[in-house]
Subunit: 398 residues, 2 copies
């Protein structure tokens, strides 16, 4: 029962199963559950040097309030960066710096969604998007995904039948949680649907620059006009700075900036200035991103190889092309994700169920595996614990 | 006309007159309009040393995600600090670290207010509170203020007549914008009304530690249980770190934390860790707060003395006991704030109208004057420009 003193919005905020699980009992020895970037790749030295420059140099802009849109120098730098990724000119006036990219989703929900409106998401989808969008009172409609991402022909069927969503949220590159990448043909299709039916595509691209395999695909933001493109520096610098950004169509910039003012006035000035100084160093980025891609690729391969070795026929995964997640399906219908998670937890391994990311609480035979924070040896050990957990479940059911 | 593609919430977000004014035309030479803390008091050296320690020492907690509630060490430190201010034990579990204190207002609005609910504010009130609360769809009811803050007997009359607000938001110490401090008797009265009628008091206390005159008064949070106490480090360290906090009654903590997760996952880890290291140094605080109070007192006195000298009989002000604002009333009914602001702007001085802070767009003969960022000499010059502006208006009306 919800507390009657609380708002309806509050009553719709569901706690995270992941969070509850991680906060109860002894901390697990190993975890494939989280979504943290690897701390060994944090650029401590570069940031220490920049902090010394800024604070030692009494840089007032690092400590004073900045405008809700963000530091003007950083906005221009982000516009230049995004122009390269999108292969189309993005003016700085369309860039808004956010307090991490999570805030981008929240702001878009605030300015676009009223109760009863429809918001399209991938199913499964990023749980933080559900947390931000559900409390708007909008109806969340999940569209099934496969190895090529959101099945846009299913979305088209809904649209043809009269559904009129205000927005469609998705991670086109190495989706959280599915790891899948939207194919080039579906990107074109989704862009075309957005124009034809007049909804905003919210394209969450945290990992696009961490592609370690396959070809770069144009973002949907390159193909359609009404796209809010979300990204940031949590995955490529460090999340603790809380510096994200969004690029919005011109008509949405001002409403988003007003919502941002109401939400928290502005993002951290110090974080913004630090990132801005990093962006002054193109050579540093080349080396840093190459090192990051190498870490992620090595770990993704180690996890998939260990699963091939120890869990073949039991767990089905698709090797990702970037990002930090693999979607894993349990082959045996008699073994549920809940049972596997409990048995793994008893062996010191934390896992997160696929149902956590569903709009409909399905996926009771799926898991999201994150390989980003474990070494190849730890990943092999984690898979070994899962194999033991499988053994215990199959033997006890006989 | 509002864009039909936008949400109703978005349509209710009003732009800031102040912001529009400051962003148009040449920047003014002098400004009494803003609300920035004085940059010359930013603790650059202390923060530079701490940044070198944390980043040079590869402190992972400074750059990794932290929990939505905030860094556990900082929460415990804030609990100890607030326990002293409130003169009652505040457990760390009731503290939530926010992305600046503006976010505290936004989160409370999210978890308490549904469309049609009633939210009480001071009239005039902090414009950021209106920005956060209006889009919830709640009806905002302003209660008139005098030199002792909110006239709680007027609130009681509403309550006795059947009004049932969900919350009452106010700045009890040196209110933004009125500069007034809620009297001890009214604090007790408001606490009693909160218990009797079952509404949450949202007590915004950004300036309580910057009292430079008069006696400390117990916060309402010392006198009632259902109080969300909002404060932070923007005014006593630096706003660019975006580290605020709130202390909520236990039943509100979890809903607020869920809303915080949806809003931006967590506040800046680096900012939190930097503030935490500062809180390890009680001697530093004593000296730093004394220096801050001295700056504010000197500037408040300089502004009030200049007004006494040049604008007596034209502008009525009440010397504040802390904070950074003075509410100024134009004595001559023939001179409107709009006219005075235009005439001052033509002379290179920015002013902000009292109507900006009203729930009803009244106060067309009032201004909020901020003295925090100008030196005594600049304050005297600004008042001189206002005197010239008054002269031009009175001569032209003859």
């Amino acid at each position: 029962m919800s507390d009657p003193r609380l708002s309806q919005r509050s009553a719709s905020m569901r706690p995270s199963a992941l969070r509850e699980m991680l906060s109860s009992g002894d901390p697990p020895r190993l975890s494939l559950a989280g979504g943290l970037p690897p701390a060994e790749a944090f650029p401590f030295e570069a940031l220490a040097g920049i902090a010394a420059e800024l604070l030692g140099g009494h840089d007032v802009r690092s400590l004073q309030y900045t405008s809700a849109e963000g530091d003007p120098v950083l906005r221009a730098q982000v516009a230049a960066l995004v122009s390269t990724v999108h292969r189309r000119e993005v003016p700085p006036g369309r860039v808004v710096i956010t307090t991490g990219s999570q805030q981008g989703i929240d702001l878009v929900g605030r300015v676009l969604l009223d109760p009863g409106d429809i918001a399209i998401v991938e199913d499964p989808t990023y749980v933080g998007a559900l947390r931000a969008l559900v409390p708007t009172g909008a109806r969340i409609v999940g569209i099934a995904c496969d190895g090529e991402g959101m099945r846009t022909e299913q979305l088209e069927a809904h649209l043809a039948a009269g559904m009129r969503p205000k927005l469609a949220y998705l991670c086109a590159n190495f989706s959280n949680p599915s790891g899948a990448t939207l194919s080039a043909a579906r990107r074109v299709h989704l862009a075309e649907l957005s124009s034809r039916y007049g909804f905003v595509v919210v394209e969450d691209d945290q990992y696009g620059r961490l592609r370690f395999r396959g070809q770069h695909l144009d973002p949907i933001a390159s193909l359609a006009d009404d796209v809010v493109y979300l990204s940031g520096f949590s995955k490529v610098v460090a999340p603790g700075l809380r510096v994200g950004y969004l690029v919005a169509p011109q008509w949405l910039v001002r409403p988003i900036v007003l919502a941002k003012q109401a939400a928290d006035l502005a993002a951290s000035s110090l974080g913004q200035r630090m990132v801005s100084r990093l962006l002054d160093r193109p050579d540093w980025w080349d080396e840093h991103l190459a090192a990051l891609r190498d870490i992620y690729a090595t770990r993704a391969d180690a996890l998939c190889a260990a699963i091939d070795d120890r869990l073949v026929g039991r767990l089905r995964v698709r090797p990702p092309e970037g990002g930090m997640f693999v979607w894993a399906e349990i082959v045996d219908p008699a073994v549920t994700a809940t049972a596997l998670i409990a048995a793994s937890r008893a062996r010191g391994l934390a896992l997160v169920p696929g149902s956590e990311f569903s709009t409909t609480n399905t996926y009771d035979h799926a898991l999201r595996l994150s390989y980003s924070t474990l070494t190849p040896a730890q990943l092999a050990e984690a898979v070994g614990l899962m194999a033991d957990a499988f053994d215990s479940l199959t033997s006890s059911s006989r």
